[in-house]
Amino acid sequence: MSNYIVYLEQLEGLFAGWQEKYKLFVPQEKEGFYFLEEYSPEAEISFDYDLLYNPPKSFIFPPREDLIEFDLKTYKSKPLFTVSPQILFGLHPYDIKALNQLDQVMDMGSVDVNYRQRRDNTIIMGLTPLRVCPEAFWGSVNAFNVDFGFDLFWTKIGPATFLVEVGSKKGEELLFVNGRVDKATSAEREVARRKKQEIVSLVQKQNRLKYSWEEVPRVLEKSFDSFLWAEKSRKCLACGSCNLICPTCYCFDILDEVDDKLNKGKRYRTWDGCMLESFAKIAGGHNFRGRAAERYRHRYFRKGKYIYDMLGELGCVGCGRCVRVCTARIANPLEVFNVLWEALSYER
Protein backbone atom coordinates (compact mmCIF):
# COMPACT_ATOMS: atom_id res chain seq x y z
CA MET A 1 0.00 0.00 0.00
CA SER A 2 0.97 3.61 -0.41
CA ASN A 3 3.02 5.80 1.91
CA TYR A 4 2.30 9.46 2.54
CA ILE A 5 3.84 12.37 4.36
CA VAL A 6 1.89 14.39 6.91
CA TYR A 7 3.26 17.43 8.71
CA LEU A 8 2.53 18.16 12.34
CA GLU A 9 0.60 21.33 11.50
CA GLN A 10 -1.79 19.34 9.30
CA LEU A 11 -2.76 17.12 12.21
CA GLU A 12 -5.16 19.46 13.92
CA GLY A 13 -7.17 19.80 10.73
CA LEU A 14 -7.21 16.06 10.18
CA PHE A 15 -8.29 15.38 13.74
CA ALA A 16 -11.07 17.95 13.48
CA GLY A 17 -12.20 16.32 10.25
CA TRP A 18 -12.28 12.87 11.79
CA GLN A 19 -14.09 14.04 14.89
CA GLU A 20 -17.11 14.89 12.79
CA LYS A 21 -17.84 11.20 12.43
CA TYR A 22 -15.71 9.48 15.02
CA LYS A 23 -14.79 9.63 18.65
CA LEU A 24 -11.04 10.13 18.55
CA PHE A 25 -8.72 8.81 21.22
CA VAL A 26 -5.06 9.82 21.35
CA PRO A 27 -2.23 9.10 23.81
CA GLN A 28 -2.01 11.72 26.54
CA GLU A 29 -0.05 12.05 29.72
CA LYS A 30 -1.65 12.03 33.15
CA GLU A 31 0.43 12.05 36.33
CA GLY A 32 3.46 10.59 34.63
CA PHE A 33 1.54 7.77 32.93
CA TYR A 34 0.01 7.56 29.50
CA PHE A 35 -3.60 6.97 28.60
CA LEU A 36 -5.64 6.83 25.44
CA GLU A 37 -7.96 9.76 26.08
CA GLU A 38 -10.44 11.60 23.93
CA TYR A 39 -8.84 14.27 21.79
CA SER A 40 -9.53 17.95 22.12
CA PRO A 41 -7.61 20.78 20.40
CA GLU A 42 -6.09 21.72 23.77
CA ALA A 43 -4.84 18.18 24.34
CA GLU A 44 -1.13 17.58 24.29
CA ILE A 45 -0.51 14.43 22.29
CA SER A 46 2.25 12.19 23.65
CA PHE A 47 3.82 10.94 20.43
CA ASP A 48 6.75 9.70 22.49
CA TYR A 49 4.82 7.72 25.07
CA ASP A 50 6.44 4.49 26.20
CA LEU A 51 3.40 2.41 27.18
CA LEU A 52 -0.31 3.03 27.52
CA TYR A 53 -1.16 2.30 31.13
CA ASN A 54 -4.35 0.48 30.21
CA PRO A 55 -4.67 -2.06 27.41
CA PRO A 56 -6.43 -0.82 24.27
CA LYS A 57 -8.71 -3.89 24.38
CA SER A 58 -10.99 -1.91 26.72
CA PHE A 59 -12.17 0.11 23.72
CA ILE A 60 -13.37 -2.99 21.88
CA PHE A 61 -13.92 -5.40 24.73
CA PRO A 62 -14.96 -3.03 27.52
CA PRO A 63 -14.71 -3.97 31.21
CA ARG A 64 -18.47 -4.14 31.28
CA GLU A 65 -20.63 -4.78 28.26
CA ASP A 66 -24.38 -5.29 28.09
CA LEU A 67 -25.42 -8.43 26.21
CA ILE A 68 -29.18 -8.64 26.44
CA GLU A 69 -32.13 -6.84 27.92
CA PHE A 70 -34.94 -8.87 29.45
CA ASP A 71 -38.36 -8.57 30.94
CA LEU A 72 -38.92 -10.49 34.16
CA LYS A 73 -42.66 -10.83 33.61
CA THR A 74 -43.00 -11.74 29.93
CA TYR A 75 -39.58 -13.39 29.69
CA LYS A 76 -38.97 -11.60 26.41
CA SER A 77 -35.40 -10.60 25.76
CA LYS A 78 -33.44 -8.90 23.02
CA PRO A 79 -29.79 -8.35 22.22
CA LEU A 80 -28.07 -5.10 23.12
CA PHE A 81 -25.37 -3.48 21.05
CA THR A 82 -24.02 -0.14 22.14
CA VAL A 83 -21.52 0.97 19.57
CA SER A 84 -20.25 4.28 18.30
CA PRO A 85 -17.57 4.74 15.65
CA GLN A 86 -14.16 5.43 17.14
CA ILE A 87 -10.57 6.01 16.11
CA LEU A 88 -7.75 4.75 18.30
CA PHE A 89 -4.76 6.84 17.30
CA GLY A 90 -1.20 5.98 18.22
CA LEU A 91 -1.20 2.29 19.07
CA HIS A 92 2.21 0.65 19.17
CA PRO A 93 2.75 -2.49 17.07
CA TYR A 94 2.60 -4.86 20.05
CA ASP A 95 -0.81 -3.49 21.04
CA ILE A 96 -2.04 -3.88 17.47
CA LYS A 97 -0.77 -7.43 17.47
CA ALA A 98 -2.75 -8.02 20.66
CA LEU A 99 -5.89 -6.72 18.99
CA ASN A 100 -5.22 -8.89 15.93
CA GLN A 101 -5.05 -11.83 18.26
CA LEU A 102 -8.32 -10.90 19.97
CA ASP A 103 -9.89 -10.61 16.51
CA GLN A 104 -8.90 -14.18 15.81
CA VAL A 105 -10.03 -15.76 19.06
CA MET A 106 -13.27 -13.83 19.15
CA ASP A 107 -14.13 -14.79 15.58
CA MET A 108 -13.09 -18.40 15.98
CA GLY A 109 -15.88 -20.95 16.25
CA SER A 110 -18.90 -19.01 17.41
CA VAL A 111 -18.35 -15.39 16.37
CA ASP A 112 -18.54 -13.01 19.32
CA VAL A 113 -21.10 -10.61 17.90
CA ASN A 114 -20.63 -7.92 20.52
CA TYR A 115 -16.89 -7.81 19.96
CA ARG A 116 -17.34 -7.88 16.18
CA GLN A 117 -19.73 -4.93 16.30
CA ARG A 118 -17.25 -2.77 18.14
CA ARG A 119 -14.30 -3.92 16.11
CA ASP A 120 -16.05 -3.09 12.85
CA ASN A 121 -16.68 0.39 14.15
CA THR A 122 -13.10 1.00 15.20
CA ILE A 123 -10.34 2.57 13.15
CA ILE A 124 -6.85 1.64 14.29
CA MET A 125 -3.96 3.99 13.71
CA GLY A 126 -0.55 2.64 14.64
CA LEU A 127 2.48 4.60 15.71
CA THR A 128 6.12 3.61 15.76
CA PRO A 129 7.34 3.83 19.37
CA LEU A 130 9.93 6.47 20.15
CA ARG A 131 10.64 5.23 23.64
CA VAL A 132 10.53 1.90 25.40
CA CYS A 133 9.26 1.30 28.91
CA PRO A 134 11.75 -0.51 31.16
CA GLU A 135 9.51 -3.56 31.52
CA ALA A 136 8.89 -4.13 27.80
CA PHE A 137 10.23 -7.08 25.87
CA TRP A 138 8.14 -6.97 22.69
CA GLY A 139 11.31 -7.21 20.67
CA SER A 140 11.68 -10.84 21.78
CA VAL A 141 8.21 -12.19 21.18
CA ASN A 142 7.72 -11.29 17.54
CA ALA A 143 5.56 -8.28 18.34
CA PHE A 144 7.76 -5.44 17.08
CA ASN A 145 6.16 -5.25 13.68
CA VAL A 146 2.66 -5.70 12.33
CA ASP A 147 1.71 -5.80 8.72
CA PHE A 148 -2.03 -5.85 9.19
CA GLY A 149 -4.61 -4.81 11.75
CA PHE A 150 -4.31 -1.05 11.20
CA ASP A 151 -5.96 1.43 8.90
CA LEU A 152 -3.04 3.86 9.03
CA PHE A 153 0.39 3.51 10.57
CA TRP A 154 2.34 6.57 11.60
CA THR A 155 6.10 6.94 12.01
CA LYS A 156 7.65 10.17 13.17
CA ILE A 157 10.56 10.66 10.79
CA GLY A 158 11.44 14.24 11.66
CA PRO A 159 10.67 16.83 14.32
CA ALA A 160 7.39 17.70 12.63
CA THR A 161 7.06 15.07 9.93
CA PHE A 162 5.24 11.76 9.85
CA LEU A 163 5.38 8.99 7.34
CA VAL A 164 1.99 7.36 7.09
CA GLU A 165 1.52 3.84 5.77
CA VAL A 166 -1.93 2.97 4.53
CA GLY A 167 -3.42 -0.27 5.82
CA SER A 168 -6.94 0.00 4.47
CA LYS A 169 -9.11 1.88 2.03
CA LYS A 170 -10.96 3.46 4.95
CA GLY A 171 -7.66 4.64 6.37
CA GLU A 172 -6.68 6.30 3.13
CA GLU A 173 -10.03 8.06 2.90
CA LEU A 174 -9.54 9.42 6.39
CA LEU A 175 -6.08 10.64 5.46
CA PHE A 176 -7.57 12.57 2.53
CA VAL A 177 -10.43 14.01 4.56
CA ASN A 178 -9.07 17.54 3.94
CA GLY A 179 -7.71 16.81 0.46
CA ARG A 180 -4.82 14.74 -0.78
CA VAL A 181 -1.48 14.69 1.04
CA ASP A 182 2.02 14.26 -0.37
CA LYS A 183 3.35 10.85 -1.32
CA ALA A 184 6.45 9.74 0.52
CA THR A 185 9.73 9.53 -1.35
CA SER A 186 11.88 6.43 -1.18
CA ALA A 187 14.34 8.36 0.99
CA GLU A 188 11.59 9.13 3.47
CA ARG A 189 10.52 5.51 3.48
CA GLU A 190 14.08 4.57 4.28
CA VAL A 191 14.13 6.97 7.25
CA ALA A 192 10.97 5.38 8.59
CA ARG A 193 12.42 1.92 8.19
CA ARG A 194 15.49 2.97 10.13
CA LYS A 195 13.38 4.57 12.88
CA LYS A 196 11.58 1.28 13.33
CA GLN A 197 14.84 -0.62 13.34
CA GLU A 198 16.35 1.67 15.97
CA ILE A 199 13.58 1.18 18.46
CA VAL A 200 13.53 -2.57 17.96
CA SER A 201 17.23 -2.84 18.70
CA LEU A 202 16.67 -0.68 21.76
CA VAL A 203 14.00 -2.95 23.21
CA GLN A 204 15.97 -6.03 22.32
CA LYS A 205 19.05 -4.70 24.06
CA GLN A 206 17.06 -4.00 27.18
CA ASN A 207 15.13 -7.22 27.82
CA ARG A 208 15.67 -10.32 25.85
CA LEU A 209 14.28 -13.81 25.72
CA LYS A 210 17.32 -16.06 25.79
CA TYR A 211 16.01 -18.28 23.03
CA SER A 212 13.63 -18.08 20.09
CA TRP A 213 10.01 -17.32 20.98
CA GLU A 214 8.93 -20.33 18.94
CA GLU A 215 10.55 -22.55 21.57
CA VAL A 216 8.41 -21.19 24.42
CA PRO A 217 5.59 -23.74 23.99
CA ARG A 218 8.04 -26.60 24.06
CA VAL A 219 9.82 -25.21 27.11
CA LEU A 220 6.49 -24.95 28.91
CA GLU A 221 5.45 -28.42 27.84
CA LYS A 222 8.46 -29.82 29.66
CA SER A 223 7.89 -27.62 32.68
CA PHE A 224 4.38 -28.55 33.75
CA ASP A 225 5.70 -30.03 37.00
CA SER A 226 8.34 -27.39 37.59
CA PHE A 227 9.03 -26.24 41.14
CA LEU A 228 8.80 -22.68 39.87
CA TRP A 229 4.99 -22.50 39.88
CA ALA A 230 4.67 -23.15 43.58
CA GLU A 231 7.70 -21.09 44.49
CA LYS A 232 6.56 -17.98 42.64
CA SER A 233 2.86 -18.25 43.38
CA ARG A 234 3.53 -18.33 47.11
CA LYS A 235 3.50 -14.56 46.88
CA CYS A 236 0.48 -14.33 44.59
CA LEU A 237 -2.21 -12.04 45.97
CA ALA A 238 -4.83 -13.56 43.65
CA CYS A 239 -5.74 -10.03 42.60
CA GLY A 240 -6.07 -10.77 38.89
CA SER A 241 -4.28 -7.56 37.91
CA CYS A 242 -1.99 -9.37 35.48
CA ASN A 243 -5.03 -10.78 33.66
CA LEU A 244 -7.09 -7.64 33.56
CA ILE A 245 -4.28 -5.41 32.36
CA CYS A 246 -3.20 -7.90 29.70
CA PRO A 247 -3.98 -6.74 26.14
CA THR A 248 -4.69 -10.31 25.00
CA CYS A 249 -6.69 -11.64 27.96
CA TYR A 250 -10.40 -11.89 27.23
CA CYS A 251 -11.99 -14.06 29.91
CA PHE A 252 -15.26 -12.80 31.26
CA ASP A 253 -18.08 -13.50 33.65
CA ILE A 254 -21.78 -13.07 32.88
CA LEU A 255 -24.09 -11.42 35.41
CA ASP A 256 -27.64 -10.11 35.69
CA GLU A 257 -28.93 -6.84 37.05
CA VAL A 258 -32.52 -5.68 37.44
CA ASP A 259 -34.10 -2.26 37.78
CA ASP A 260 -35.45 -0.94 41.08
CA LYS A 261 -39.02 -1.79 40.11
CA LEU A 262 -38.02 -5.41 39.45
CA ASN A 263 -39.62 -5.36 36.01
CA LYS A 264 -36.76 -5.30 33.56
CA GLY A 265 -33.12 -6.13 33.63
CA LYS A 266 -29.91 -6.54 31.74
CA ARG A 267 -27.45 -9.35 31.39
CA TYR A 268 -23.92 -8.11 30.99
CA ARG A 269 -20.44 -9.48 30.83
CA THR A 270 -17.51 -8.20 32.77
CA TRP A 271 -13.78 -8.90 32.75
CA ASP A 272 -12.68 -11.89 34.74
CA GLY A 273 -9.33 -13.52 35.28
CA CYS A 274 -7.95 -17.02 35.68
CA MET A 275 -5.75 -15.84 38.55
CA LEU A 276 -8.78 -15.12 40.70
CA GLU A 277 -9.37 -17.87 43.20
CA SER A 278 -12.88 -18.91 42.27
CA PHE A 279 -12.46 -18.66 38.50
CA ALA A 280 -12.70 -22.43 37.95
CA LYS A 281 -14.94 -23.20 40.91
CA ILE A 282 -18.26 -24.93 40.24
CA ALA A 283 -21.52 -24.68 42.12
CA GLY A 284 -20.85 -27.72 44.30
CA GLY A 285 -17.73 -26.02 45.62
CA HIS A 286 -15.15 -28.08 43.75
CA ASN A 287 -12.38 -25.87 42.43
CA PHE A 288 -10.62 -27.26 39.37
CA ARG A 289 -7.72 -24.89 39.94
CA GLY A 290 -7.88 -24.55 43.68
CA ARG A 291 -4.19 -24.01 44.34
CA ALA A 292 -2.41 -20.75 43.62
CA ALA A 293 0.33 -22.66 41.80
CA GLU A 294 -2.21 -24.19 39.42
CA ARG A 295 -3.73 -20.84 38.61
CA TYR A 296 -0.33 -19.24 38.25
CA ARG A 297 0.82 -21.99 35.90
CA HIS A 298 -2.37 -21.77 33.87
CA ARG A 299 -1.75 -18.13 33.08
CA TYR A 300 1.72 -18.83 31.69
CA PHE A 301 0.52 -21.82 29.76
CA ARG A 302 -2.25 -19.77 28.30
CA LYS A 303 0.22 -17.10 27.21
CA GLY A 304 2.99 -19.40 26.11
CA LYS A 305 1.32 -22.57 24.88
CA TYR A 306 -2.47 -22.76 24.64
CA ILE A 307 -2.80 -19.65 22.46
CA TYR A 308 0.18 -20.83 20.41
CA ASP A 309 -1.52 -24.19 19.86
CA MET A 310 -4.57 -22.35 18.57
CA LEU A 311 -3.01 -19.56 16.51
CA GLY A 312 0.67 -20.28 16.04
CA GLU A 313 1.78 -17.22 17.96
CA LEU A 314 2.42 -16.46 21.61
CA GLY A 315 -0.40 -15.09 23.74
CA CYS A 316 2.07 -12.57 25.12
CA VAL A 317 3.08 -9.49 23.13
CA GLY A 318 5.73 -8.34 25.58
CA CYS A 319 4.13 -5.00 26.45
CA GLY A 320 5.28 -5.25 30.06
CA ARG A 321 2.00 -4.13 31.65
CA CYS A 322 1.73 -7.19 33.89
CA VAL A 323 5.32 -6.76 35.02
CA ARG A 324 4.53 -3.23 36.04
CA VAL A 325 1.18 -3.83 37.65
CA CYS A 326 2.00 -6.89 39.76
CA THR A 327 2.77 -5.57 43.23
CA ALA A 328 4.23 -8.93 44.21
CA ARG A 329 6.55 -8.77 41.20
CA ILE A 330 5.92 -12.34 40.12
CA ALA A 331 4.08 -11.72 36.85
CA ASN A 332 6.98 -11.22 34.43
CA PRO A 333 6.54 -13.69 31.55
CA LEU A 334 10.01 -12.99 30.17
CA GLU A 335 11.60 -13.87 33.48
CA VAL A 336 9.53 -17.05 33.85
CA PHE A 337 10.17 -18.19 30.27
CA ASN A 338 13.89 -17.58 30.75
CA VAL A 339 14.12 -19.29 34.13
CA LEU A 340 12.26 -22.37 32.88
CA TRP A 341 14.54 -22.58 29.86
CA GLU A 342 17.63 -22.30 32.03
CA ALA A 343 16.32 -24.96 34.38
CA LEU A 344 15.81 -27.29 31.43
CA SER A 345 19.26 -26.68 29.98
CA TYR A 346 20.71 -27.34 33.42
CA GLU A 347 18.91 -30.66 33.62
CA ARG A 348 20.24 -31.68 30.24
Partner: protein, 246 residues
Protein backbone atom coordinates in the same frame (compact mmCIF):
# COMPACT_ATOMS: atom_id res chain seq x y z
CA UNK B 1 -47.83 -12.15 48.60
CA UNK B 2 -47.63 -9.72 51.47
CA UNK B 3 -44.71 -7.36 51.57
CA UNK B 4 -41.82 -8.42 53.80
CA UNK B 5 -41.47 -6.29 56.91
CA UNK B 6 -38.09 -4.67 57.36
CA UNK B 7 -36.49 -3.14 60.43
CA UNK B 8 -33.20 -1.33 60.99
CA UNK B 9 -31.17 -1.53 64.19
CA UNK B 10 -27.96 0.03 65.34
CA UNK B 11 -25.30 -0.92 67.82
CA UNK B 12 -21.87 0.68 68.33
CA UNK B 13 -21.42 2.73 65.18
CA UNK B 14 -22.10 6.10 63.65
CA UNK B 15 -25.29 5.23 61.77
CA UNK B 16 -23.50 6.33 58.64
CA UNK B 17 -24.69 3.27 56.79
CA UNK B 18 -28.32 4.02 57.42
CA UNK B 19 -27.56 7.55 56.29
CA UNK B 20 -26.29 6.10 53.02
CA UNK B 21 -29.62 4.40 52.58
CA UNK B 22 -31.46 7.63 53.34
CA UNK B 23 -29.20 9.20 50.70
CA UNK B 24 -30.84 7.04 48.06
CA UNK B 25 -33.53 9.73 48.15
CA UNK B 26 -36.26 9.18 45.55
CA UNK B 27 -34.88 5.78 44.55
CA UNK B 28 -35.75 4.55 48.01
CA UNK B 29 -39.42 4.88 47.04
CA UNK B 30 -39.13 2.26 44.29
CA UNK B 31 -37.22 -0.06 46.55
CA UNK B 32 -39.49 0.55 49.51
CA UNK B 33 -42.59 -0.12 47.44
CA UNK B 34 -41.73 -3.83 47.62
CA UNK B 35 -41.30 -3.90 51.39
CA UNK B 36 -42.83 -2.48 54.51
CA UNK B 37 -40.42 -0.60 56.71
CA UNK B 38 -41.52 -0.98 60.32
CA UNK B 39 -38.52 0.55 61.99
CA UNK B 40 -35.93 2.96 60.60
CA UNK B 41 -34.83 5.70 62.99
CA UNK B 42 -33.14 7.86 60.39
CA UNK B 43 -36.10 8.01 58.09
CA UNK B 44 -39.28 7.54 60.09
CA UNK B 45 -40.63 7.50 63.60
CA UNK B 46 -42.24 4.54 65.30
CA UNK B 47 -41.10 1.00 65.89
CA UNK B 48 -42.55 -2.47 65.70
CA UNK B 49 -41.22 -5.82 66.84
CA UNK B 50 -42.95 -7.58 63.99
CA UNK B 51 -40.42 -7.92 61.18
CA UNK B 52 -38.91 -10.54 58.88
CA UNK B 53 -35.78 -8.82 57.68
CA UNK B 54 -33.47 -7.05 60.10
CA UNK B 55 -30.61 -4.80 58.98
CA UNK B 56 -28.17 -4.41 61.81
CA UNK B 57 -25.57 -1.67 61.93
CA UNK B 58 -22.72 -1.33 64.43
CA UNK B 59 -20.55 -3.72 66.36
CA UNK B 60 -21.20 -5.58 69.57
CA UNK B 61 -19.27 -3.98 72.42
CA UNK B 62 -21.22 -4.74 75.60
CA UNK B 63 -22.94 -7.67 77.29
CA UNK B 64 -26.24 -5.83 76.96
CA UNK B 65 -25.69 -5.70 73.20
CA UNK B 66 -25.47 -9.47 73.07
CA UNK B 67 -28.88 -9.90 74.61
CA UNK B 68 -30.40 -7.36 72.29
CA UNK B 69 -28.89 -8.84 69.13
CA UNK B 70 -30.01 -12.33 70.17
CA UNK B 71 -33.49 -10.98 70.61
CA UNK B 72 -33.39 -9.45 67.13
CA UNK B 73 -32.03 -12.69 65.73
CA UNK B 74 -34.86 -14.69 67.25
CA UNK B 75 -37.49 -12.43 65.66
CA UNK B 76 -35.93 -11.94 62.24
CA UNK B 77 -36.10 -14.55 59.54
CA UNK B 78 -33.24 -12.86 57.77
CA UNK B 79 -30.56 -10.85 59.53
CA UNK B 80 -28.18 -8.75 57.51
CA UNK B 81 -25.14 -7.02 58.93
CA UNK B 82 -24.84 -3.50 57.59
CA UNK B 83 -21.50 -1.76 57.31
CA UNK B 84 -17.98 -2.43 58.51
CA UNK B 85 -18.72 -2.20 62.24
CA UNK B 86 -21.32 -4.93 61.90
CA UNK B 87 -19.59 -7.13 59.33
CA UNK B 88 -15.96 -7.06 60.45
CA UNK B 89 -15.99 -5.13 63.71
CA UNK B 90 -14.65 -2.06 61.96
CA UNK B 91 -12.71 0.73 63.60
CA UNK B 92 -14.29 -0.11 66.95
CA UNK B 93 -11.85 -2.99 67.08
CA UNK B 94 -8.94 -0.57 67.38
CA UNK B 95 -9.55 -0.68 71.09
CA UNK B 96 -9.08 -4.43 71.11
CA UNK B 97 -5.36 -3.87 70.92
CA UNK B 98 -5.43 -2.17 74.30
CA UNK B 99 -6.45 -3.75 77.55
CA UNK B 100 -9.89 -3.05 78.90
CA UNK B 101 -8.81 -0.73 81.71
CA UNK B 102 -6.67 1.28 79.32
CA UNK B 103 -9.39 2.13 76.85
CA UNK B 104 -12.02 2.63 79.49
CA UNK B 105 -9.88 5.17 81.25
CA UNK B 106 -8.99 6.79 77.98
CA UNK B 107 -12.61 7.28 77.00
CA UNK B 108 -14.49 7.70 80.24
CA UNK B 109 -11.76 8.96 82.57
CA UNK B 110 -12.84 8.96 86.22
CA UNK B 111 -16.24 7.50 85.32
CA UNK B 112 -14.75 4.43 83.73
CA UNK B 113 -16.08 2.01 86.29
CA UNK B 114 -19.69 2.94 85.52
CA UNK B 115 -19.45 1.71 81.96
CA UNK B 116 -19.50 -1.88 80.87
CA UNK B 117 -17.73 -2.44 77.59
CA UNK B 118 -15.61 -5.21 76.15
CA UNK B 119 -13.60 -5.95 73.06
CA UNK B 120 -15.62 -4.93 69.99
CA UNK B 121 -16.73 -7.66 67.63
CA UNK B 122 -18.78 -8.10 64.47
CA UNK B 123 -22.38 -9.25 64.68
CA UNK B 124 -21.45 -12.65 63.27
CA UNK B 125 -19.25 -13.29 66.31
CA UNK B 126 -22.39 -13.37 68.45
CA UNK B 127 -25.26 -14.59 66.27
CA UNK B 128 -25.41 -16.17 62.82
CA UNK B 129 -25.97 -13.68 60.03
CA UNK B 130 -27.59 -14.39 56.67
CA UNK B 131 -25.86 -11.70 54.72
CA UNK B 132 -23.30 -8.95 54.98
CA UNK B 133 -23.13 -5.57 53.31
CA UNK B 134 -19.57 -4.44 53.73
CA UNK B 135 -18.01 -1.01 53.70
CA UNK B 136 -17.49 2.11 55.78
CA UNK B 137 -19.83 3.44 54.82
CA UNK B 138 -21.72 0.91 52.74
CA UNK B 139 -22.12 1.46 49.02
CA UNK B 140 -25.76 2.36 48.54
CA UNK B 141 -25.82 0.59 45.18
CA UNK B 142 -24.80 -2.60 46.91
CA UNK B 143 -27.54 -2.13 49.48
CA UNK B 144 -30.07 -1.81 46.68
CA UNK B 145 -28.60 -4.90 45.07
CA UNK B 146 -28.99 -6.87 48.29
CA UNK B 147 -32.60 -5.81 48.76
CA UNK B 148 -33.42 -6.72 45.17
CA UNK B 149 -31.73 -10.08 45.59
CA UNK B 150 -33.80 -10.75 48.70
CA UNK B 151 -36.97 -9.91 46.81
CA UNK B 152 -36.00 -12.06 43.85
CA UNK B 153 -35.12 -14.99 46.09
CA UNK B 154 -31.47 -14.88 45.14
CA UNK B 155 -28.64 -15.24 47.59
CA UNK B 156 -26.46 -12.16 47.33
CA UNK B 157 -22.78 -12.97 47.40
CA UNK B 158 -20.38 -10.05 47.47
CA UNK B 159 -17.29 -10.36 45.25
CA UNK B 160 -14.66 -12.68 46.71
CA UNK B 161 -11.70 -11.07 44.96
CA UNK B 162 -9.60 -8.06 45.99
CA UNK B 163 -10.28 -4.43 45.09
CA UNK B 164 -7.45 -4.54 42.50
CA UNK B 165 -9.91 -6.14 40.10
CA UNK B 166 -12.23 -3.17 40.23
CA UNK B 167 -9.37 -0.69 40.03
CA UNK B 168 -8.22 -2.35 36.83
CA UNK B 169 -11.72 -2.26 35.40
CA UNK B 170 -11.93 1.42 36.31
CA UNK B 171 -8.56 2.05 34.67
CA UNK B 172 -7.01 3.47 37.84
CA UNK B 173 -3.30 3.97 38.31
CA UNK B 174 -2.11 1.55 40.98
CA UNK B 175 -1.33 3.42 44.16
CA UNK B 176 1.77 1.33 44.72
CA UNK B 177 3.17 2.90 41.53
CA UNK B 178 2.84 6.25 43.21
CA UNK B 179 4.60 4.91 46.26
CA UNK B 180 1.51 4.87 48.43
CA UNK B 181 0.36 2.15 50.77
CA UNK B 182 -2.93 0.68 49.62
CA UNK B 183 -4.86 -2.22 51.15
CA UNK B 184 -6.72 -2.94 47.92
CA UNK B 185 -4.48 -5.96 47.42
CA UNK B 186 -6.21 -7.84 50.24
CA UNK B 187 -9.55 -6.08 50.61
CA UNK B 188 -12.81 -7.52 49.35
CA UNK B 189 -14.05 -5.76 46.24
CA UNK B 190 -17.59 -4.56 45.68
CA UNK B 191 -17.03 -0.85 46.15
CA UNK B 192 -15.86 -0.33 42.57
CA UNK B 193 -12.49 0.83 43.88
CA UNK B 194 -14.16 4.09 44.79
CA UNK B 195 -11.47 5.45 47.11
CA UNK B 196 -8.66 4.90 44.61
CA UNK B 197 -10.79 6.25 41.78
CA UNK B 198 -11.16 9.46 43.79
CA UNK B 199 -7.44 9.74 44.42
CA UNK B 200 -7.18 8.12 47.83
CA UNK B 201 -5.97 4.65 48.76
CA UNK B 202 -7.88 1.60 49.95
CA UNK B 203 -8.23 1.52 53.73
CA UNK B 204 -9.58 -1.99 53.93
CA UNK B 205 -13.07 -1.11 55.14
CA UNK B 206 -14.73 -4.04 53.36
CA UNK B 207 -12.63 -6.53 55.23
CA UNK B 208 -10.29 -9.14 53.79
CA UNK B 209 -11.29 -10.90 50.58
CA UNK B 210 -11.81 -14.62 51.21
CA UNK B 211 -8.86 -15.25 48.92
CA UNK B 212 -6.67 -12.63 50.61
CA UNK B 213 -3.08 -13.71 51.07
CA UNK B 214 -2.12 -11.65 54.10
CA UNK B 215 1.35 -13.10 54.50
CA UNK B 216 2.20 -12.30 50.91
CA UNK B 217 0.65 -8.86 51.25
CA UNK B 218 2.84 -8.09 54.26
CA UNK B 219 5.88 -9.20 52.30
CA UNK B 220 4.85 -7.11 49.31
CA UNK B 221 4.29 -4.00 51.42
CA UNK B 222 7.67 -4.54 53.03
CA UNK B 223 9.34 -4.84 49.63
CA UNK B 224 7.71 -1.63 48.54
CA UNK B 225 9.45 0.06 51.44
CA UNK B 226 6.71 0.40 54.00
CA UNK B 227 7.74 -0.15 57.58
CA UNK B 228 6.21 -2.75 59.83
CA UNK B 229 4.66 0.00 61.95
CA UNK B 230 3.08 1.72 58.94
CA UNK B 231 1.65 -1.54 57.68
CA UNK B 232 0.39 -2.72 61.03
CA UNK B 233 -1.25 0.64 61.77
CA UNK B 234 -3.04 0.51 58.47
CA UNK B 235 -4.16 -3.07 58.92
CA UNK B 236 -5.45 -2.42 62.42
CA UNK B 237 -7.67 0.44 61.34
CA UNK B 238 -10.36 -1.87 60.03
CA UNK B 239 -9.05 -5.39 60.32
CA UNK B 240 -8.57 -5.53 64.07
CA UNK B 241 -11.00 -8.37 64.61
CA UNK B 242 -9.61 -10.33 61.69
CA UNK B 243 -6.00 -9.91 62.82
CA UNK B 244 -6.78 -11.10 66.32
CA UNK B 245 -8.57 -14.22 65.24
CA UNK B 246 -6.65 -15.30 62.15
Amino acid sequence: MSKPKVAFFDFAGCEGDQLQIANLEERILDIASHVEIVSFREVKTGHSDDYEIAFVEGSITRYEDEERIKEIRSRAKILIALGACATIGGINCLKNFLNEQEYKNMVYGPWARYYSTYAARPVSAVVPVDGEIHGCPIDKEEFVEVVKSLLLGKKYTPPDYPVCVECKKAGNICQFERGRLCLGIITRAGCGGVCVSRGSVCWGCRGPAPSANLDAAREVMDEHGFSWVEVEDRLRLYLGHFLKFN
